[in-house]
Structure formats: C-alpha cells, structure tokens
C-alpha cells in the first residue's frame, strides 16, 4: 500500500468529534520530541484546520517532563484547553497525566511504560514503541529521538491525518532535507500500519480537511518580532541570553543575513552578545544615541538589571527598543512559564519620576507590526520603547496572516543635519520647539560647529548644559511629561469589539485575548460583553470612552496583582470603581473555561 491508499482504511465512528479537540504529548525534555510535535501541528495546518501549539517545557536541558499542547478547532479557537487526548511517553508523569484526562478522553502510550491509572472512562491505546523502532537504521544514540515518530504515526491513524500530509509536514520541518525525512517517515508509516492492523479506534476524535488556513503562515512571536525589528530598520542588536527571549535574538541573527545581503557581503547590522543585561542595554542606548536603530531582548531578571539604564534613556532621551518576553516572576521564578507580571515595574522602570512607553503585542501580526512601530516610536519620541510580549506568544507557534509590508517609510524623528543646522537660528537639544515635548537632536559625526551637545543623566537645561537650577529641572521634567502625553497619541490604538447588547466590558492585553475571545462567544447569551484589547501604555482616550460606555469593566490579566487594572485606575480615578480586576497567574496560558467561570463568579457575587 502506498501513502494514499492507506487513508481509506478507517471505520467511521458513530458520532465523531471532528476538528475540535486538544491533545497533549507528554515526553521528557531533551528527547527531541519537538520535531514530532511540530510535524503534527503543521499537518493540521496543512489540512486547513485552525490550530495552535504550546510547548510547556521545564527549565532544564535533559530529562525533566515536557508537554506539548495542540488545540485543533474548526471554530478557530486557539486558546489553551485542557486536553482530551494524551500521548503518554513520559514515565515520570504518566500517572498524573492520565489521571487528569476528562472522562471520555484518550490515552495513547508507550507500552513499555508502567503505572497508568485504572480508568474505565477513557480509551487506552498501547503502542509497542521498542518493537516499532528496533529495525530502524539510525545510531543507537538517536533511537529515543526516532521513538517520537511512533506517536506521529499513531496519531495519523487515530485522527485520520493523511500520511501524505505528514510527509509534507515532515519535509517542512526538516527544511526539505530529504535524508532526514527518509529516516523519520518509515517509523511513522510503520506505526500507522501497525495501528491499522492492531488497534480498534473506539474514540470519536478525528480531523477532516477544511479551508481555514489558506495562505496563513505559522511562526513564533519571537520570530515575528525579530522580523518586525528588521523591517523596522534595526542595525544594532545587543543582548544577554535569557529564556524566553533568546529565540528572539536567534531569529534576528538567523534572518538578518538572509534578508539584508549586500553586494560586498559586508554586514549592515551587528548583533553583540553582551556580558550581562546592564551591558546589553548600555550598548543598545549607545547605538541609539549614535543614530542607529537598536534593539535588545530580555526577560524579567534582565528588566530588573536594566533599571538604571532605562532611567538614563528616559531622562537623556535616547531611542532604543527593549523586548521583554515575560516569564513568571518575582525573581528567577519559573523561567519556562508564561505570565504578564512585568507591566507595573516596566512602566515605572527607573528611580525618580521615570515613566516608560510600552507596547503589548497579542499575535504574531502584532509582533511584526509593533516590532516596526517600536523603532519609529523610539526615534520619534526619543525614548526607550518597551515591547512586552510573553513566553506563550514568543516561543510558541501561532497562525497568522502574512505580514503587511509597512506603508510608511522609516520615521527617524527630529534629527537635524548639518544643512538644517545652518538654516536654523540655533540649536538647543532639549528645547520644546514644537510644543510636543520632543526636542531636536543631532547625531555624533555631524560636521557643523553647532552640532555637538553633551548627553547626560544629570540635571541639564535646554542646551544640554549641566544645571542644578530648580527652574531648569522643572522645565525639563514638565516637558518630559508633555512628551509622555504626545506618546499617548502615537502609540498603537486599542482594538475594540463593541457588542451593542453589552452592559459589561472586558479589557485585556496580550495573549489573554484568545481565552477571552472564546469565552465571550460561549457567554454571548448569558453575559454579552464588549472587548477592548489595550495595545500600549500610556493609554489613549479610547480607553476612557470604552469604560464610560459600559456599566462596568472586567480587567483580565495574567499576573497576581492586577497590574494594568491598577494603572487604569490611576489614569482614570473617576472611573476607578467601574474597573474590576480578574488577575491570576500560575504560569499557564488562560483557558476560556477559566475565564467563563471567573466572570460568572464575579457576576453572581
């Protein structure tokens, strides 16, 4: 039988559940199961079914448990959902994993693993993994890696994924390296065949081709952000490795040479691995001061270490872009878990009256768009721009529309050339010529006797001259405040879905949107809601209008303290009591179910 013929071999289930389930592959870290998982993920995508995968991995290199969640949804819901299907390949967690399955669930396991719970309400499928791979011709070292292909084959059979699709997905996964495809595919096929002969499918879960992913791409948020940075004209990157931001820089280093080849092979960019985060942000600001577009990426501990430089960037008014791929804090916390806990700290990052502009992407499209916008904003506002993504968005693969090419040219803000300097009466670096709080700057290297000024984090007057005069301080501080108000008008606007029936609104930001969007559909009768997704701080006027237009608002976020809720309250004290906080963080992305339950709990008192 060849790949095509095999597909006919299934028996239809009495009442199949098609394209609507969540599955989890439980393996051990370092076994290379990612290839298997991503092959499954891509297969669904190729079948036109909306899909999303989440890697729940440990802060460890080899051996600790790791789970890969795949949500398949014909309705297009991609929030995390507790899985109905389990691929149980990790002895350490098999008992708990299987215990957690809902009634009616499915457990596909490696038959060499013992310790499954006795359950009659779920379907077990045992796979003779050792047997299935024993003849495969790979070095013995690589056997555990190949073993993962067994569950790909089993899932292909059970969920009715055409083997041809698996083959295509594998090929994409291996970047077309046929040798690798050739060493993996046979295990898939062999398992498929074995299943066909030995398993009787009794569960209802299956997939069927749809047409919902046509033209879509699949990418991680970190890749999308790095790509945005590149189309935003970045030329200097500086960083220090930290999960989950490292892959942002990896992507930058990978994509730059491919997208920015020059004729002489010289680089129009540099990416420097700094000795720590203090140096990384220092380099980023140094480059921004010089006029290059510069970026750094980090996570919570790095943000803490960047505090002093953030204040300098704010106060000396230096463009820079800082991506914070949030993980769970405080402190080192859970490096491989997701959260939205850095909002308040980053907003006020730096002692004194520092206040920072923050963007909140919630999708790979946002990562790309905001990635570009961040560099423009940094130059236009002459200040560090923080982009707060999170591990879930940054490291997982998300579907998205192919990114739109920017429609406006690179905006470098108020930079005076030698010619412009000559044309002007004079140059005062920190003078508010235009009333928007943003002064004009010159770049080092500008050949003009008046170009030079002295950049400093100490008190200075409009001419950038050191000053301890009270009036100079106040004038400058007030201008910075004015500039922050200018920022309000320039940052990405919130995105609103008004529901005419709704008395209640929801405000959120970032990746919580998926669970909320799904919950809203489920609740459309019981509790019709409008939804506003905030894309930036400081907030713009639209937020006030949204709050005013509703009886009250739930502010939902993935942290313990309700951080953006508090910020919104201080920004709109007159509306403070209309804002109710729903805040929670356990390291996992929210589920729609949780959102529904919490909302109804609040509603019912």
């Amino acid at each position: 039988m060849d790949v095509l013929e095999r597909e006919e071999a299934h028996q239809p289930h009495a009442s199949p559940i098609v394209n609507d389930f969540s599955l989890v592959a439980a393996t051990a870290n370092g076994t290379g199961s990612q290839t298997a998982n991503l092959t499954l993920l891509r297969s669904f995508l190729k079948m036109g079914i909306p899909v999303h995968g989440k890697n729940i991995f440990p802060s460890n290199i080899q051996g600790l448990p790791t789970w890969y969640h795949i949500r398949v949804s014909h309705e297009g819901f991609i929030a995390r959902r507790p899985p109905e299907l389990l691929i149980a390949f990790n002895p350490m967690t098999i008992y708990e994993d299987a215990k957690d399955l809902p009634s009616g669930g499915v457990c596909v396991y490696d038959d060499s693993i013992k310790g499954l719970p006795e359950r009659n309400d779920i379907t077990y499928y045992a796979l003779p993994v050792t047997d299935l791979i024993k003849d495969i011709d790979v070095p013995v070292q690589r056997k555990p890696y190949i073993a993962n292909m067994v569950y790909v084959g089993a899932m292909a059979y059970l969920l009715k994924i055409p083997l041809q699709v698996i083959e295509e997905a594998l090929s994409v996964q291996f970047g077309g390296r046929q040798k690798l495809v050739a060493s993996n595919l046979p295990v898939v096929v062999k398992t498929y065949d074995w299943c066909q002969e030995n398993l009787r499918k009794t569960d209802p879960y299956e997939v069927a081709p749809m047409n919902e992913t046509e033209g879509l791409i699949m990418m991680t948020g970190n890749e999308a952000g790095a790509l945005g940075s590149i189309f935003g004209g970045v030329s200097v990157g500086a960083w220090y490795p930290i999960t989950p931001s490292t892959s942002f820089i990896d992507a930058l280093k990978d994509f730059l040479p491919r997208l920015r080849q020059t004729e002489d092979g010289k680089a129009t960019y540099t990416v420097i691995q700094a000795e720590d985060e203090l140096a990384a942000i220092g380099m980023t600001l140094g480059a921004g001061w010089m006029g290059a577009r510069s970026v750094t990426a980090t996570s919570g501990p790095g943000i803490s270490l960047m505090s002093e430089f953030a204040g300098l960037g704010y106060f000396a008014e230096i463009p820079a872009v800082i991506w914070d791929i949030q993980r769970v804090g405080p402190s080192t916390g859970m490096p491989t878990r997701t959260g939205q806990g850095d909002v308040t700290f980053t907003y006020y990052l730096g002692h004194g009256d520092t206040k920072n502009v923050i963007l909140f992407p919630s999708s790979i499209e946002d990562c790309f768009d905001f990635g570009i916008a961040a560099h423009d904003l940094a130059d236009v506002l002459q200040t560090p721009i923080f982009v707060l993504s999170d591990l879930d968005l940054g490291m997982n693969n998300w579907m998205g529309k192919p990114f739109s090419y920017p429609t406006t040219p690179i905006n470098r803000g108020k930079v005076l050339s030698a010619e412009e300097l000559t044309a002007r009466a004079g140059f005062a670096r920190y003078k508010d010529v235009d009333g928007d709080g943003v002064g004009y700057r010159t770049l080092p290297g500008t050949e003009h006797p008046q170009a030079a000024y002295f950049t400093r984090g100490t008190g200075h007057n409009a001419n950038a001259v050191y000053s301890e005069r009270s009036s100079d301080w106040v004038e400058n501080a007030d201008r910075l405040k004015r500039k922050f108000d200018t920022a309000r008008t320039l940052v990405p606007k919130p995105v609103t879905e008004l529901n005419p029936d709704a008395k209640v609104g929801i405000i959120a930001f970032g990746t919580t949107r998926y669970a909320i969007e799904e919950a809203r559909v489920h609740l459309c009768e019981k509790l019709p809601t409008s939804f506003m997704r905030i894309c930036a701080l400081p907030i713009s006027d639209e937020v006030r209008s949204f709050v005013e237009a509703h009886d009250y608002i739930y502010v939902i976020e993935l942290n313990r303290d309700g951080q953006i809720h508090a910020i919104l309250q201080t920004e709109m004290p007159d509306l403070a009591t209309k804002l109710k906080s729903i805040a929670y963080m356990d390291g996992m992305p929210l589920t729609a179910q949780w959102v529904e339950e919490r909302l109804m709990e609040e509603e019912n008192g």
């Binding site: 370092g30 199961s33 051996g63 070292q141 996964q173 220090y240 490795p241 990978d254």
Partner: protein, 346 residues
C-alpha cells in the same frame, strides 16, 4: 537490623556517604558537573564534615543548580546569576565559623559575575569557589562564554572572535591565595584539590574543566547552528540531547601531558604540574599559565598557594561569636549609653 546498620560504612562522625547526598540531579547524563558534585560528596564524607557547618552557594546556570545535588543536610542558597560572591560575603561575615562551598559556571563567573568574582578574591572571603568551566552557557543552550577559546567554532554558537578569560590567571592577579585547576573526570585530583581548598584560610579558587554534553559540536546532531541556518528552522524547535557517558580519565603523572577526548570528538590537553613545581611563587605561576595558554594546554594541579594573607573576617577583627548569634545584650547598647551618647548632640 543491627547487622544491617553495621554493614553501612560510616565516617568519624558516624555519617554514611548517603548522608551527604543531595536530591537527584536534573542535569544531563554525562555532564561534568555531576562528576564534581559526586566528588564533593565523597570529600565531605571522607573529611567527616558536619553538614550543618557547611553552607552551599551558587549563582544561576546548570553548574549553579548542582548544590541541590550534594549535601542535602547543609543550608544552601541558589542566588542570582553572577551574584553568589556578594551573598557569600555577607553570609560569611554574619557567621565566619561556617565553611562555604560555592559553585559557579564560566558564564556566571566570567561574564555577568566577573566584577563580584574579582572583588571576592580581593577581600579574601573564606570560601571554596568552584568554577565548573565548560566554555558555554549550558542552561541557556550553548552560547559562548568568556572562557571559550579565541577562534573556537561551535555549530550553534558559531565562531568565537574574542580571547578567552583565564580564570586562574584572573584569580592570581586579583590576589587570590589558592588557585588550582582540574578536570571534572579526574576524580582523584578533584578530590585532592577540594580537600586542600576546604582547609584554606581565604578564597580558594578551583577552575574545573567540566564538559557540556548537550552543546557540543557533534556534526550529526540536528541541534547544530549550521543545521538551523541551512534549513531555515527556528532553532528552539530542536531539543534533542543525545545520550552520553560521563568522561572519566585515569590518573596521570605529574609533568605528564594528557589528551582528553570530549563528547564531540574534540580534544583538550591537560598537563599536570610537576612534583617540584613551586606553587608558592606567584610570578612563576603567572608565567606558567601564560606559556601554557600559548601552547593551548591547561596546566592542572595546585597552581598557587599562599595561606598568609588574612581573610576578610580576620581583617575585620570580628568577635568569636558569629555576628548572627550575638545576644540582644551584645547588640543593643544600654539605655544609659544612649542618653550619654546623645549629650554630644545637645
């Protein structure tokens, strides 16, 4: 029962080797760091260290995780990346009777923690400071650390353009009075040096080459950099760590050159210091390190020792009772003292 208890060997204070265990290691199989942890257990057992008189300190990294895997009955502090020296300094000033074993990595020590490392040695804080040196950032997946050799090529990390930091030379220059180097797989030498280090008066730096099995250079490994690049694959998709055995080397003679093959097939050259090497001559030590570096050799053994310089607790003239255990009376001056003191401000 009695016979079973007798069957378990115990040391001078009646503890078995198991009593010095920590929790089960979550490091990769074959990681050099595991070998070192095992030697620490062995040495603590052999020296009959009282677990409660030892503290374990570390920064962040695979290496820095390892204090959890030895001496489970000792207090431990897994601090921040690169900041173990300051935490240790404060802790040991608060109780200068305790013995401290600090474990760090080359990234933890040579990059983010470089300043703290150097200043720890300047202050001569009494601590065994082990650098589990693998030339990469293990925990964040294989970037070069500052101890990677100039010109080194790694599949993931690429080409290293920068000269390596030599932990031992840095220690010597900083005034450190105990500078030694070994290889994780050389159990005997590691143990000998650990024992010496534990009896040192000030900071004892042990630079232990400790190969990383996960981020090696294996060409067939799909996690290599070139692979990712060629195939336009996002790198983090690939997370396969091949199974590897710990590298163990046999004892070799003083003066001898030993070639050790690492997991990736590359080799490093270790040369054990001769028996007549004078480890009390600082200038000579610097020279030896410099000339070995030119030959791309690592000299192993006790490179420099000077037990004369008083440690921080000593120059601080601390009372014998640890500061942490002073009584309220020792700490809070009397009411009379307060009022008479305030008179000068009237």
């Amino acid at each position: 029962m009695a016979s079973r208890a007798q069957a378990i060997k115990s040391n001078a204070i009646g503890l078995s080797k198991k009593d010095y265990d920590g929790s089960v290691s979550t490091l990769c199989k074959g990681c050099g760091h595991n070998s070192i942890a095992n030697q620490i257990i062995q040495v603590a057992y052999e020296l009959s260290l009282k677990p409660h008189e030892v503290i374990k300190l570390s920064g962040i990294g695979c290496s820095s995780k390892s204090p959890a895997y030895f001496l489970g009955m000792s207090h431990g502090f897994n601090a921040l990346h690169g900041r173990m020296p300051s935490v240790g300094t404060g802790a040991l000033m608060a109780n200068h009777h305790l013995r401290a074993i600090g474990v760090s990595g080359d990234g933890d020590t040579g990059s983010i923690g470089f300043g703290q490392f150097k200043h720890l040695m300047r202050r001569n804080v009494r601590m065994v400071y082990i650098v589990e040196n693998n030339g990469v950032y293990g925990l964040t997946k294989g970037q070069f650390s500052a101890t990677a050799e100039l010109g080194l090529e790694l599949k993931y990390a690429g080409h290293n353009d920068f000269p390596q930091i030599d932990i031992c030379t840095e220690a010597l220059i900083a005034g450190c009075g105990f500078v030694a180097r070994s290889f994780a797989g050389d159990a005997k030498q590691v143990r000998e040096l650990l024992k010496a280090a534990l009896s040192h008066r000030g900071t004892a730096v042990l630079d232990i080459i400790s190969p990383c099995v996960a981020f090696n250079n294996d060409d067939s490994s799909p996690k290599s950099y070139s692979y990712g690049r060629e195939h336009e694959q996002p790198l983090q998709e690939i997370g396969y760590v091949p199974y590897a055995e710990e590298i163990v080397i046999n004892d070799y003679d003083p003066g001898e050159l030993k070639l050790v093959e690492l997991h990736d097939g590359s080799r490093i050259s270790l040369r054990k210091l001769e028996e007549d090497y004078d480890a009390t001559n600082r200038l000579e030590a610097i020279n030896r390190l410099q000339s070995a570096a030119v030959k791309q050799e690592f000299i192993t053994g006790m490179i420099y020792i000077d037990n004369e310089r008083p440690n921080l607790a000593e120059v601080s003239h601390l009372t014998d009772t640890p500061l942490a255990h002073l009584s309220d009376q020792d700490l809070r001056p009397s009411e009379e003292k307060l009022s008479s003191f305030l008179k000068a401000f009237a």
